[in-house]
């Protein structure tokens, strides 16, 4: 593959903190290599800003290999940018050409308040998990791992749901800012496994209650979440969540929920 350099115009959201109003600022970056990752391009910009005595742009990032779920930019109107099944940190600059203008915003949702610039507060996801996204088993209580065979198909489906990295792209992509894909991925992962069966009713009810309490919107089956999810979490999980929820209501699970 031929490598090339490019000059770009960036329009980036700047916001001091959650209480102040934000705005777009325009920056120029030069000699960006097509081999850089999108975040390395931001590193170049930030080094340039520091050299000029200005404040760098704050953004979340950590593993830079697409698995920790920390990076979160909304790039030209799309969560994690244009590449399919790709987080921002894995997007590479060969996507762009000399002279391009790129608009970068934080993930936008009422339930994700901006901390600074492109950094948002996604702690609502932790609280949804706290509401029931687990199996209640204390350390030391487990039977032998092979005591309970699990059909390969179910195990694979559970794995596919468990691949969620909790990045919040589903929320950012959804016109309702719903976190239903995130919530349903955990409900599905645990409901598909026999170990998760005893708590399935109380789990789905409590997690949905917390989801709503956090201010995430309702699901209206638009599907943008699935399209933008970097890990390919399927909409089927939302259908499964709905089945779980209805079944829980019939089972009277609500009397156990809090």
């Amino acid at each position: 593959m031929e490598h090339y350099n490019m000059n770009l115009t960036l329009k980036v959201w700047k916001q001091k903190n959650k209480n102040q109003q934000g705005h777009f600022e325009t920056f120029q970056v030069k000699n960006i290599s097509s081999e850089m990752s999108f975040l390395e391009m931001f590193d170049v910009l930030n080094e340039q800003l520091i050299a000029e005595g200005k404040e760098p742009i704050a953004f979340d990032h950590d593993c830079r290999e697409g698995i920790c779920g920390a990076c979160s930019m909304h790039i030209n109107g799309r969560a994690h940018g244009p590449w399919h099944h790709t987080t921002t940190c894995q997007l590479h600059m060969r996507e762009y050409k000399d002279g391009d203008t790129i608009v970068v915003e934080p993930f936008r949702a009422n339930a994700f308040p901006v901390i600074k610039d492109l950094v948002v507060d996604r702690s609502g996801f932790d609280r949804i998990i706290q509401a029931g996204g687990y199996i209640s088993v204390n350390t030391g209580n487990a039977v032998d791992a092979n005591a309970l065979p699990i059909e390969k198909h179910d195990a694979d489906e559970a794995f596919a749901a468990a691949a969620c990295i909790g990045c919040g792209a589903c929320v950012a992509a959804c016109p309702n800012a719903s976190a239903m894909l995130f919530t349903s991925a955990k409900v599905s992962h645990l409901a598909l496994l026999p170990q998760g069966d005893p708590e399935r009713s109380i789990r789905v009810e409590n997690m949905i209650r917390q989801h709503d309490k956090e201010g995430f919107g309702g699901c209206t089956n638009i599907g943008a979440c699935e399209a933008e999810c970097p890990k390919g979490i399927s909409l089927e999980n939302i259908a499964r969540l709905n089945r779980e929820y209805i079944a829980a209501t019939f089972r009277g699970g609500s009397k156990n929920s809090v």
């Binding site: 001091k16 290599s33 081999e35 290999e65 779920g69 901390i115 199996i135 350390t139």
Partner: protein, 658 residues
Amino acid sequence: MTLNSKIPSGSLESKWKTYKSTCKLVNPANKRQLEVIVIGTGLAGASAAASLGELGYKVKTFCFQDSPRRAHSIAAQGGINAAKNYQNDGDSTYRLFYDTVKGGDYRAREGNVYRLAEVSANIIDQCVAQGVPFAREYGGLLSNRSFGGTQVQRTFYAAGQTGQQLLIGAYQALERQVALGNVTQYSRHEMLEVVMVDGKARGIIARNLVTGELERHFGHAVLLCSGGYGNVFYLSTNAMGSNVTAAWKAHKKGAFFGNPCFTQIHPTCIPVSGDHQSKLTLMSESLRNDGRIWVPKKQGDNRKPNDIPEEERDYYLERRYPAFGNLVPRDVASRAAKERCDAGYGVGASKQAVYLDYASAIERYGKVEANKLGLENPSKEKITELGKGVVEAKYGNLFEMYEKITGENPYEVPMRIYPAVHYTMGGLWVDYELQTTVPGLYALGEANFSDHGANRLGASALMQGLADGYFVIPYTLGNNLADDIRTKAIPTDHPAFVAAEKEVSDRINKLMSIKGTESVESFHKRLGKIMWDKCGMARNEKGLKEAIEEIKALRKEFWSNVRIPGEINEFNPELDKANRVADFIELGELMCMDALNRNESCGGHFREEYQTEDGEAMRQDDKYMYVAAWEYKGESQFELHKEDLVYDVVHPTQRSYK
């Protein structure tokens, strides 16, 4: 001070059992009065915090990430070892113990490693009970794969995302304890000091990374589960935020640092593409099962890889190590790649890479598939097509990642790979109870030095993190806290807290007042270059001595010319980074001193002066069969303490893979 490793007496098999049945206990009512601080929420931290919360301790967790789920354990790909013997291939606790001691080139403690092997099977049970979706066979039972340095299949895995699934399991257990009120979690917080009261660790000073405020937190004990320090090299497979700060603060408060120079360079990573490079990405060790590694036979050969005919390729691992071929341990494979590149046979634009080629695997699998389908005289194209399908099923996600990063299709063109810093075997010195030389201060997981000797085997890091957190610390912490049940929570206006907070704020003020001209990132890069060139894959006396002087000069420059934008009391990632880089610089010096002291080659530590005629590592067991535990004595002053390693069961031999 003499180091007491507190290994229980008795036979290897009985040590841990005896310890567990005779250690002191804390009753439930007293546990509720005892507070424990856990730094870091990776596999070790999350599993420890969850288990201690379940027992009834009052736990606080701290992580610098925005959620405990993002700790870097999440990025582990290949798998986790356990002596389950589900494959009936002769595995046992003893074999896992033996492989680990040998793999570590006889620089680990027998007692600790045996315990690790012993609890490994419980880890898999625990994880399955939590809902960790390990790979399964059609019969519904768990699947295993092989990994380097072993002859059995004992690695459990969840595609190429084993670390993620294990961490999410531990994270869910942790969040459950948060919901129950047993654990309070502090995300976007970084520990910046240990608070000592009457010679014991009794709390921490943490910085809230959103507001910049300093906070005081009391704990009867402090657990450091803060991971490794590979980022001292700037470029590594670690996450951008991974740092040594918590461990280094502990070191400066009296915790000895064990074997700091033992670092693991992983052979199969995507090579550096330019000066802009911010981190390196690992390609799982499992790729060496089927891929063949080669360079051109001719120096500086600029032809495209597919234009170089078979007879002009040097499959140097197969040539040098016919018995193990491409599956030699990590340290050996890494050094061999460096040797070829240094000799001028490297490939790619930088010439710092070798090829990992799947063409013959694709052909081999393709023929097998064609046979299965009963195809007569299949065309070459058909075979390639079928073979690609098999390779995709096995390694698809890794190939996809390679293509995203490099823009090249590894099904068509051989991958370019080069070794990269991946893991640090060294860490805080701990005894059998995981307690450092500071009473009340513990280190778990990669943050401690204990189980991997001079080289870690693949799929053993996850095992150790979870062993320490789920199955070791719940016992050993209780044994020590049983003596603390009358200690009331110390109010955080105690003079020790006030003084520790002042120390931290003075340092931050000093950093911010420098107002120099060079960015933190630039200093970090310069440190990394010194470390990689002179304390990396190969080290020698001259280079290490130079490195020590260069690092001292760099530190001086850092403290007089670093530029940190922004304010103290706000979200300021540059300030966070400056705090970490300042500590990395000090650690770098100690690593070079340790490497200089160890006049031998063992595991990941290769001293050029100590090699056999054909370039293999040469240990000096009579002189260096000890743990080097360094005590901090002041700026650039470290005192060496030795813990002799005694091998009662395993007999150390020179490793050979020919």
